[in-house]
């Protein structure tokens, strides 16, 4: 997907999402009383501009798939606002939303379960025409055969059944179905993760070509950072229901600001043994993602972050623009000035949060954070809890979010 012209990005967004929330109730007992909620998506705001590809990346359970189902309105949002081409579609009824389904289509992850095994390919790909009561030029069959050709299948496949196809071919069928009504926005949820590498590349290239040919706008959800980098113009990184970083591709991969993004990038195995030796540091996060039923207070990443301070535990960092086109939600970002420079006392948990592999150099380039960067590998912080414990019950000493980021940043 070649870089889009600049005016596209400044114009009216195709999709605008504000404060999107989805909580799934957790029920218990005989009366099925609600005892809590899984905060799958908890306040997302972003725009998708015509012709661009927005990549959404995050680990399992971060809410990326739920987000995809919300913006296609397969699920009802708990709160927030979704605008498509200026129309509020947040709570539109099923009947009213049907015309919109023409413009927003979805490609699903599993090409085995997303095609009805009892229907022929012709029926599957032709279904959108029937449902929308659209009569394409030259008849449905001809149009379906054209679509099959478009995605690299042959028109003779029209009367076959899904089981006769391989995974990659099935995914092509799913793509053909999504493209049937020439939508404006295509939401693809893990479109290639079920496929083998050589097939994965075919499908990625196909999505690429179709975008150039048909001027599609994509929201691509994936967990694979290399795939996301390859296909996206802009990327949002999600963690526990929140966007922690939203940036154009280049800036995100070259200068990640949120510590989570940095850790995520450094965890990706690079298929080049030579390169690995050179890499000076690899950050290894310890522990698991906390439960979205009771996410941590303040910054949700603070329990696993090596830079976490008291303010991170109490005050949630807002997603703000730290550099043109690069937003991050962090009090102590990498590659950008510290948001709360006074708060330098690193939490005890942070000292053990990571292990550095390879040359154990200080994690952050920032001075003053040296203690955070110390390799915590063989050094249990036995004496540390004393430093932090008293602070638990007290209000945060750090000021509220008043210290604005100075604009016009210096490169590191």
């Amino acid at each position: 997907m070649a870089d889009r012209p600049e005016e596209d990005k400044t114009g009216e967004p195709l999709l605008r999402v504000e404060g999107l929330v989805k909580h799934f109730p957790v029920k218990k007992g005989l009366l099925q009383r609600q005892v809590g909620a899984v905060k799958a998506v908890d306040g997302l705001s972003f725009d998708v501009h015509p012709g661009e590809t927005l990549g959404i990346v995050g680990e399992s359970g971060c809410g990326k798939s739920t987000m995809g189902r919300l913006i296609t309105r397969l699920d009802e949002p708990t709160d927030g606002r979704i605008e498509f081409q200026g129309h509020d579609i947040t709570h539109m009824s099923a009947g009213k939303i049907r015309p919109l389904r023409r413009d927003v289509q979805m490609i699903f992850q599993d090409p085995y379960s997303s095609l009805n095994p009892r229907h022929t390919i012709g029926t599957i790909v032709g279904a959108p025409f029937k449902l929308q009561k659209v009569e394409p030029e030259g008849g449905v069959k001809k149009e379906v055969q054209r679509l099959l050709g478009l995605v690299g299948l042959s028109p003779e496949h029209y009367n076959r059944y899904p089981h006769e196809f391989s995974g990659g071919q099935r995914q092509r069928i799913g793509i053909a179905r999504a493209l049937a009504l020439s939508p404006k926005l295509v939401v693809a949820d893990e479109p290639v993760s079920a496929l083998d590498v050589s097939i994965q590349a075919q499908v990625v290239n196909l999505l690429d070509d179709l975008q150039d040919e048909l001027g599609l706008t994509y929201v691509i959800i994936a967990h694979d950072l290399s795939v996301i980098r390859h296909v996206s113009d802009r990327i949002a990184v999600m963690y526990l229901g929140k966007i922690v970083e939203l940036s154009d591709r280049k800036s995100l991969y070259e200068r990640p600001m949120h510590p989570y993004t940095k850790a995520l990038l450094s965890a990706v195995p690079v298929p080049d043994p030579k390169r690995r030796g050179v890499k000076s540091e690899r950050i290894l996060l310890k522990g698991d993602v906390p439960s979205p039923i009771s996410p941590p207070s303040g910054c949700r990443f603070h329990t696993r972050c090596w830079k976490a301070t008291e303010v991170c535990r109490t005050v949630e960092p807002p997603l703000i623009q730290l550099e043109p086109g690069h937003e991050a939600a962090c009090h102590h970002p990498e590659n950008a000035p510290d948001q709360i420079p006074d708060d330098t006392k690193v939490l005890a948990s942070a000292r053990e949060a990571i292990a550095l592999v390879g040359d154990a150099v200080a994690a952050g380039a920032d001075a003053g954070k040296a203690s955070a960067g110390e390799p915590a590998v063989g050094e249990p912080a036995v004496s540390e809890p004393a430093v932090v414990k008293p602070a638990v019950g007290e209000p945060a000493e750090a000021p509220e979010e008043t210290s604005e980021a100075p604009k016009g940043l210096t490169k590191e």
Binding site: S166, D196, V197, A201, Q202, V270, P271, D272
Partner: protein
């Protein structure tokens, strides 16, 4: 002598009667592994890489003696420390399994018994092979969990698999696998079901264990990134046969079989400049011919000639010593650039 030396291993699954499908009416046998040979030295990390259906998991199951007896015929030899694993009696291999040979499976949830607490599952192997019982066994189990980085092991021992996270379950499985300090550990896609940050943790753990215990590791994976970080020696499998065998650096620097070459060209990489389109391999794994008739990869290959269809190509060393390639038209230095241009066009 190598710790494990596999010679022309083949596994054939008998077809299921004469089904209505396929139209043939006759039984159709499936050759999942079709003559795989490789060696694992003491303390070495060897990778088996390939896509789904290339026979890498079946190879592992055959080595462990875990394939069903009925309907499966296993051929070739697999010598572990001088004894042939394939012709060994059930009783003998049970003594080896768990103590000298151990395996980590892909899906940690389905490899653990959901109705038995972790503690019992870990102590089981200690009782079977090391004769530990009661309190000493429990203590040893706790120290094993501690060693693989599970916090609060005493509490975890009482818990059931569903109470553990995916990464934790995989750690528990690893704890069981290394309980008796095996000489060979087979890991079948140990990180595929895990998130990338957890994957990094598990790989680091495996690396540590291998270094500390001098265990040889046979790493089965489809992820070339994992291979690049871990393996000393890599075998690339295609349609049940090794098509390229080389040291890690050699393989990644000079992939010589068109399949390995294509595989490396089709992965998006974090370290490469973006913008160059991916170079996928065309077709799918279903487009293959039997190895007996020629090169199974020929129908998908960009360099294939009529010569490729005249019997199984031999393993040769066209580029460097120890870098074996099963191809009559290998991708060699002069061709590499030309080949690249050809594929991308």
């Amino acid at each position: 002598m190598a710790l494990l030396s596999v010679d022309e291993l083949s596994v054939t699954f008998a077809g299921q009667g004469g089904g209505r499908g396929a139209g043939s009416g006759a039984r159709r046998d499936t050759k999942a592994v079709d003559g795989v040979s490789f060696e694992v030295e003491e303390g070495q990390v060897v990778g088996l890489v390939g896509e789904s259906g290339c026979g890498k998991s079946v190879t592992a199951l055959a080595l462990m003696g875990l394939l069903p007896r009925k309907g499966v015929s296993v051929g070739g030899r697999a010598e572990f420390d001088g004894a042939d694993l394939l012709s060994m009696g059930e009783k003998k291999i049970r003594d080896l399994r768990g103590s000298q040979l151990a395996m980590i499976f892909q899906d940690p949830l389905s490899s653990l018994n959901p109705v038995v607490p972790i503690g019992i599952q870990v102590t089981e192997i200690l009782t079977r092979h090391r004769g530990l019982k009661g309190e000493p066994a429990r203590k040893e189990a706790a120290s094993l969990l501690d060693r693989v980085g599970i916090p609060d092991p005493d509490r975890r021992l009482k818990e059931y698999p569903h109470q553990l996270s995916g990464g934790m379950r995989q750690r528990a499985l690893i704890a069981m696998a290394v309980a008796c300090a095996p000489r060979l550990l087979i890991a079948d896609e140990p990180t595929t079901a895990l998130d990338v940050t957890i994957q990094a943790q598990i790989l680091e753990l495996l690396k540590e264990l291998v270094d500390q215990q001098g265990t040889a590791l046979l790493m089965i994976t489809h992820d070339l990134g994992v291979v690049a970080g871990l393996c000393d020696q890599v075998n690339v499998l295609y349609a049940g046969r090794a098509v390229e065998t080389a040291g890690r650096r050699e393989l990644f620097a000079h992939p010589t079989h068109p399949y390995a070459h294509g595989l490396l060209g089709s992965i998006p990489r974090l370290d490469a400049p973006r913008g160059d389109p991916l170079r996928p391999i065309r077709g799918s794994i279903n487009d293959k011919i039997a190895w007996a008739d020629g090169c199974a990869f020929a129908p998908r290959c960009d360099f294939y000639t009529m010569e490729c269809l005249t019997g199984t190509p031999e393993l040769t060393e066209p580029r460097a010593r120890g870098h074996q390639v099963r191809c009559v038209n290998p991708v060699l230095p002069a061709e590499t650039s030309a080949g690249t241009a050809e594929v991308s066009s």
